[in-house]
Amino acid sequence: MRRPRLLYIPFWATLVFLYAPIVVLVAMSFNSGESAYTFEGFSLKWYGVLAGNERVLDGLVNTLIVAAGSTVLATVLGTLLAVGLARHTRSRTLDAVALMPAVLPDLVLAIGLLMFYGLVQFTLGVTSVILSHAVFSMAFVAAVVRTRLTGADPSLEEASRDLGAGPVTTFVRVTLPQLAPGIVAGALLAFTLSLDEFVIAFFTIGNLEQTLPIVIYSMIRFGVEPQINALGTLLLLVSFTAVIIGQRMTRIGEARAQD
């Protein structure tokens, strides 16, 4: 098919637009000077400053706890829900309900959760953020696992049931192994989504604790700080690696399914 040359202009413009800020951020993280705008020489000093920043470290620990907790919760609930929706009901209403947290504006979900925790007098903190993050992560896990389920052969599950296995045995011995790549991809998605999430955590964490995005947000509000460049570079490294591993996983899974 013909590829008009003119189309390369918006394509490259898009890529430059997407990567220019990232390149500048990474470059400035190795700046030896105090300025956030002019590069004065190579140094790792901002990484050192960062390593000594206790607020950042506390925020990082909280973020990892939240991401791990909500990922486990969302992966278990989301996988069960995906199988239930695909194999045990034809209700379109339930489908819509399962997708709702992913479609709803995060701000509306955030204030709703804040009001709910207030009503039942649930103490705000890391636990309430874990529960909140699992809400939308679950929707994404369910969606990813469902895509995988449509590719899986239901006759294998029928065969298992015909041979006398109950729904739980069939799920554990037949469905789950088939779904594994989808579940891993969903879990990685849930983990990265939680690492990055700001609005819901901002509303549901209360005053005593902070996640990393909230720490960064308040640091920026007090002005530009070069150590944020170093932090950003590290976070970039982590999330890019997670995305690439996820991509590899699904590709390996697909290759295996085709064997």
């Binding site: 098919m1 013909r2 590829r3 189309l7 918006p10 890529l15 997407l18 990567y19 220019a20 800020p21 990232i22 500048v24 951020l25 400035m28 956030a36 705008y37 002019t38 278990v76 609930l77 989301g78 069960l80 829900l81 194999r87 045990h88 339930l94 309900v97 399962a98 709702m100 709803l104 504006p105 701000l107 509306v108 204030i111 709703g112 959760l113 804040l114 009001m115 709910f116 009503l119 529960l131 909140s132 809400v135 679950m138 049931r161 729904p167 739980v168 799920f171 700001f198 609005v199 960064i216 947000y217 920026i220 530009v224 944020i228 932090l231 950003g232 970039l236 999330s239 890019f240 995305v243």
Partner: protein, 289 residues
């Protein structure tokens, strides 16, 4: 009664099926009921309550929250939000359509690489990405240094509505490119060849064949960019310097500063209503396309 061998397995399998449905559906749906539907019902119910004098709520029925919605002050904020979100969506479309079109024509290997390249920045911390733009757009920042080379500027690029649009565009552009790519990819290339064979110019083919057939993708992508842009409150604060209020800022302020939860809830529900209307309009337009 004589057992009917044929009927027995059917009934047990049905019983099992119902048990299976319960085992799989109950945990997730209960979770969603408690932590999505109940909170939403709370927000909805608060729209009818009164605000306490020192924050808090008086549980008495009122419709005054809705009356306050049409205050010109708030309508102005809605207008600004609409304008900014629409501008971000439009630029995303103008930049995203040709990009998606080109990616769809690339050889398979490059296609995947290009798609990953488009989505990758999306996976880094949102606050960090906005911070990177503060560095770029600031007075002595790189963009102004670029202008200086041509003897221009420096310009005040940060803390205005333009900076908000840039931030929104940066945050949600991949959400425009992906559905467009999916729609263009699905398109049968023979249709375009037929149009060209019948003597249509490249532009006519695009206007009469490609664009109408990819319209559902255009609508989906536009919704994906518009919805989070319209409700955003972080970008107007970080890149807009807090000078421009959008609906999201208003809701945040009512909840965390003014502590007027009933009116904050009413604004949130109005937001959801606007988005629902847009979704319905989109579904209607997609059916017609």
């Amino acid at each position: 009664m004589k057992a009917q061998p044929a009927a027995r397995p059917v009934s047990t399998s049905r019983g099992r099926h119902r048990l299976g449905a319960f085992v799989f559906l109950a945990p997730g749906l209960t979770y969603l009921l408690v932590l999505v539907l109940v909170p939403l019902a709370l927000v909805l119910s608060f729209t009818f309550f009164q605000r306490g004098r020192f924050g808090g709520v008086i549980y008495e029925f009122t419709t005054e929250n809705f009356a306050r919605l049409v205050d010109p002050l708030y309508l102005g904020v809605v207008g600004t939000s609409l304008k900014i979100a629409a501008l971000a969506t439009l630029i995303a479309l103008v930049l995203g359509y040709p990009t998606a079109y080109l990616i769809a024509q690339l050889p398979r290997k490059w296609k995947t690489a290009a798609l990953i390249a488009i989505v990758l920045p999306f996976w880094t911390n949102f606050i960090i990405r906005m911070y990177a733009w503060i560095i770029l757009l600031n007075g002595p920042g790189l963009v102004n240094s670029g202008f200086e080379l041509f003897g221009l500027g420096p310009y005040e690029l940060l803390y205005n509505q333009g900076a908000i649009v840039v931030g929104l565009l940066y945050s949600y552009l991949p959400l425009m490119v992906l559905p467009l790519y999916a729609a263009i990819e699905k398109l049968d290339p023979q249709l375009r060849e037929a149009s060209a064979n019948l003597g249509a110019s490249g532009f006519t083919t695009f206007r009469r064949v490609t664009l109408p057939l990819t319209l559902p993708g255009v609508l989906t992508g536009s919704m994906f960019v518009f919805v989070p842009s319209f409700a955003n409150f972080v970008i107007p604060e970080m890149l807009g310097g807090g000078k421009t209020l959008m609906v999201g800022n208003l809701i945040r302020n009512e909840f965390l500063k003014a502590r007027d939860w009933p009116f904050g809830s009413t604004l949130a529900m109005a937001l959801v209503a606007v988005l629902l209307l847009l979704l319905l309009a989109q579904a209607w337009a997609a059916r017609r396309a």
